[in-house]
């Protein structure tokens, strides 16, 4: 058996392209320092598009590669495209912002590309050790990016906190992998499934391993009680990084979570479901309630991001139910997509208002936006409504689909908690809208083309894609996981 087949190449090609491109970008940056503020983002865009091209080429493929360590299936393709979309939007957000904030260094984009490659690997990984490595690959650049606004102490602090807690959490993940390995003798999904099918000597170790893996991934997606880093890091990190992190880390984390739980842990769903359930409920409640108390928009969005993790987790809770299994994936993916647009859009607005020294981020700084910058305010309002789940926005469709899988799984109580959570969330999202439209003020706003474009594009997409959500959801529904 050859160790590296064309099939393997085909499966890994997007990541290879991406990593190679990142390396090239590094070289370009090193030797072409002065042009990097413009050149690097341009090259990054190209690289992402090239990667997207190779991902698109994979559509329809459903293969295992590298002896089962890697799987390309509809699910991974969906997530990868979503991640690339996130990358593209991040570039749109970063271009002006980095220059404005004196952060325009080429390494930024390279690190971002590396991180995306880690995320994509995470979506395709089909072996726990690869998951672990992918997690580190996506995290380490993020740690650095969070601290990118050095020597701003807030940024450094964000990086430090993220790093410390991230390392702490990945310790748990690794230990969980070890336990799973101990229980089954392997870390490859296909072999784990096979040995579970044969019967385990000590299934409890598998359960505990799964629990610890949940800790590690829960940290990445910011699930309570592993969420504590989120607000501080979101607030301290450069906003473009925050935006990137908010979607990328979450999407990758959920990709791994979904794949791991749906592929290898269905048999122990009975034990895991209560854990997931309580984590979800805690996430929903804490995320939303804490968001109410915020006066800083970045922090508010951080908590909102926690709450959205809770919503997606709602779908995951039902993973053990046969009836709901397919909808779990589809609705979680769709929700991520809906979240992506609203999230990037809202960060774009935040960045348009952000001033140096972390000013311009309080709620009060948004007063009067509806009068002075109508388009921006309307866009922000649309994102807030999408977050709340009010039609006609993508966020509503996301919630609607999501709640079906919850109900199909039979979790009526959870559904009600989720509904209440979205009700609470309306309170703080609306607060921002109130401030923007109903209070008077003279907000300081940067008029930057790419930011405006990202914001308005996301806003239009949030509404229009809702109307035409059938193909999108259909696509998400076809993004099935390859099972063993």
């Amino acid at each position: 058996m050859p160790t590296f087949t064309s099939l393997d190449l085909q499966a890994l090609l997007p990541q290879i392209v991406l990593v190679a491109w990142a390396c090239m970008l590094l070289l370009v940056v090193v030797f072409n320092k002065d042009s990097s503020p413009v050149l690097a983002p341009f090259l990054t865009l190209l690289g992402l598009l090239a990667t997207a091209f190779f991902v698109v080429l994979q559509i329809g493929l459903e293969v295992e590669a590298f002896g089962g360590m890697l799987v390309v299936d509809g699910f991974s393709i969906f997530i990868n495209l979503l991640l690339i979309l996130g990358g593209l939007l991040t570039v749109g957000l970063s271009y002006d912002y980095l220059q404005r904030m004196d952060l325009a260094r080429g390494e930024y984009y390279a690190l971002m590309l590396f991180s995306i490659s880690g995320m994509m690997l995470m979506a395709t990984a089909s072996d726990l050790i690869v998951v672990f490595l992918a997690l580190e690959l996506l995290s380490i650049p993020l740690y650095v990016l969070a601290a990118f606004a050095r020597p701003d102490i807030r940024s450094e602090e964000a990086g430090m906190k993220y790093f410390l807690l991230g390392a702490f959490a990945s310790g748990f993940l690794l230990y969980g992998v070890a336990l799973v390995y101990g229980a089954t003798g392997s870390t490859a999904f296909n072999e784990i499934v096979a040995s579970i099918a044969v019967g385990l000597e000590q299934p409890l170790y598998l359960v505990l391993g799964a629990g610890l893996i949940l800790v590690g991934l829960g940290f990445k997606v910011a699930a309570v009680p592993f969420h504590m880093w989120t607000p501080d890091v979101y607030q301290g990190a450069p906003t473009s990084v925050t935006a990137f992190m908010a979607l990328g880390a979450k999407a990758a984390g959920f990709a791994a979570l979904l794949r791991i739980f749906l592929v290898i842990f269905p048999s122990i769903s009975q034990q895991l479901t209560p854990v997931l359930l309580w984590i979800t409920i805690a996430t929903l409640i804490a995320g939303n309630l804490l968001a109410i108390a915020q006066n800083n928009v970045k922090r508010m969005l951080a908590y909102s991001s926690i709450s959205h993790a809770g919503f997606i987790l709602m779908a995951v809770v039902a993973y053990g139910s046969d009836a709901a299994r397919f909808d779990v994936v589809a609705s979680a993916l769709f929700y991520l997509l809906a979240f992506a647009f609203a999230s990037f859009g809202s960060w774009a607005v935040v960045m348009a208002l952000e001033q140096r020294e972390a000013r311009g981020l309080e709620f009060s700084d948004y007063a009067g936006l509806g009068r002075t910058h109508r388009g921006l305010a309307i866009a922000m309002a649309i994102f807030m409504l999408s977050f709340t789940g009010v039609p006609p926005t993508l966020g509503f469709a996301g919630k609607f689909f999501l709640f079906r899988s919850v109900l199909e799984g039979g979790f009526v109580g959870l559904a009600i908690v989720g509904m209440l959570a979205s009700l609470i969330s309306a309170y703080y999202y609306l607060r921002l809208v109130v401030v923007m439209f109903m209070q008077d003020g003279e907000p300081l706003v940067h008029r930057e083309r790419w930011l405006a474009l990202t914001a308005s594009g996301s806003a239009v997409a949030t509404v229009l894609l809702f109307v035409f959500s059938e193909p999108l959801f259909g696509w998400a529904a076809q993004a099935v996981l390859k099972l063993f």
């Binding site: 990593v19 590094l26 360590m69 390494e107 690190l111 380490i140 409890l204 170790y205």
Partner: protein, 171 residues
């Protein structure tokens, strides 16, 4: 009690004491040294478990490279001692309590609910030779291996980004 067991308990005692000592040391340098001791002990365990290659890697990479880096930074920053105001905070007692609970849980797991039947015998000679490891590494585990290389590259870039003097100041 067999020799194996005596050896195990002896080494385990060393490892645990080293870890505890690391925790309790005032001076970061001492902590680092205790950690090295701990790592070395674990390396011995690796040997016992028939993993000579890993044991060597442990000693060279961990105890050697990584810990030296630690010590270097400690010295560089002059950060041997952080003034740990010993105050009756909640953090510490709760942490210790939780740690105890975790250990009890694990104990209950291991000795109460799910003892593993496997017993470790002295290793066969050809098990896990560096040669075998190398071969596996570059065939079956090609992908993670490559990923690791990227990871190290990224870490390198990250370190440069983080420690490079700001251009602005240089200008």
């Amino acid at each position: 009690m067999t020799v194996d067991l005596i050896l195990f308990f002896g080494l385990a005692a060393v490892a645990v004491s080293a870890a505890i000592a690391m925790l309790l040391s005032r001076n970061a340098v001492y902590s680092a040294l205790f950690l090295i001791l701990n790592f070395a002990t674990v390396a011995v365990f690796f040997l016992l478990l028939g993993a000579p290659f890993i044991a060597m890697a442990q000693v060279t990479v961990y105890a050697g490279a990584i810990m030296v880096l630690f010590l270097f930074v400690i010295m560089l920053l002059g950060a041997e001692q952080v003034q740990e105001r010993q105050k009756g905070g909640w953090q510490r007692p709760i942490a210790i309590l939780l740690a105890l609970v975790l250990i009890i849980e694990t104990g209950y797991l291991i000795f109460g609910r799910g003892a593993l039947s496997a017993v470790i015998e002295p290793a066969a000679s050809n098990y896990a030779s560096p040669q075998a490891i190398g071969e596996t590494l570059f065939t079956d585990f090609l992908l993670p291996f490559e990923v690791t290389s990227v990871l190290l590259l990224v870490a390198m870039v990250g370190v440069i980004v983080l420690t490079k003097e700001e251009r602005k100041k240089a200008d």
